[in-house]
């Protein structure tokens, strides 16, 4: 909830105040923050005492349990949105 409020504050600042010149700097800030966040995720992973043992024993299943749900989600959403767009096109034609 707090995150959404902070984002809303950003929208407010961007809409009413931010000069166009600073937009490019804003893009760099996003890139920097993303890299720092991924670094922090790496630290969280690395600080687990049994990290290598866990990776060796659970690595395959972790990967499969990440990739299959991702793949099925993307495929399902792709098919649903595609179907919806086609239906909309047909309606517009008729």
């Amino acid at each position: 909830m707090l995150i959404l409020l902070i984002m809303a504050a950003g929208v407010f600042v961007g809409y009413f105040w931010l000069p166009k010149k600073l937009c490019r700097l804003n893009t760099w800030i996003q890139l920097g923050c993303t890299v720092v966040l991924v670094f922090c995720m790496g630290v969280v992973l690395g600080m687990r005492k049994n990290f290598w043992e866990e990776l060796a024993s659970l690595g395959f299943w972790s990967l499969l349990l990440a990739v299959l749900p991702m793949g099925c989600s993307a495929a399902l959403v792709f098919l649903l949105t595609r179907f919806w767009e086609k239906r909309k096109e047909k309606k517009e034609e008729s």
Binding site: L4, A8, G10, T27, M41, G46, C72, S73, A74
Partner: protein, 198 residues
Amino acid sequence: MAIFVILALLLGVACGQVFFSEETAGFISEKSEWVLMLLMFSVGISVGTNRELFQKLRRMDLRVWMVPVGVILGSLLGSALCGVLAPFGFLPTLSVGAGMGWYSLSGVMLSDFYGAEVGALAFLSNLLRELISFLTIPLAVRYLNPYAAIALAGATSEDTTLPILMRHSSAEMVVYSVINGVLTSAAVPVLLRMFYIS
């Protein structure tokens, strides 16, 4: 971008393993919340500067609901397929996939429900989902469509993966991403509890 992400991850793991003490690593992971907040503020600014977006908001359609429904059903379908084969039991495996990328919550909840092994599996697998999203979102936008890219990100589409989604698609997608993130994040604890009870 992808190369920076991979390097940052490897450097982070190395620092967590070798260079940082437990206190330093704990401090960094705790303070990463502030980086996330700065990122969200910056994403908000990008949305605010895009005046066209506010006009498009009025024309939102059924796809706003289609994306989270597809993400939840697809994640459950994918983890159910794994559940048939995995040695952890069907419902624990289904619960891991139902984390939809929210590794902190699913790791802690599933440790409580099913023990440390399933908790570690949930943590690793959902963290991997987030990391793989960073690398595959640009490909999904290019070869499928932006909605499928949001689906890859799962519950993280409202925060960490949002800048990548926006960078590779359009500012219009921010609305779909945030709504998907909010709805799927809300569904995660409900689904985990539901599978545990049953």
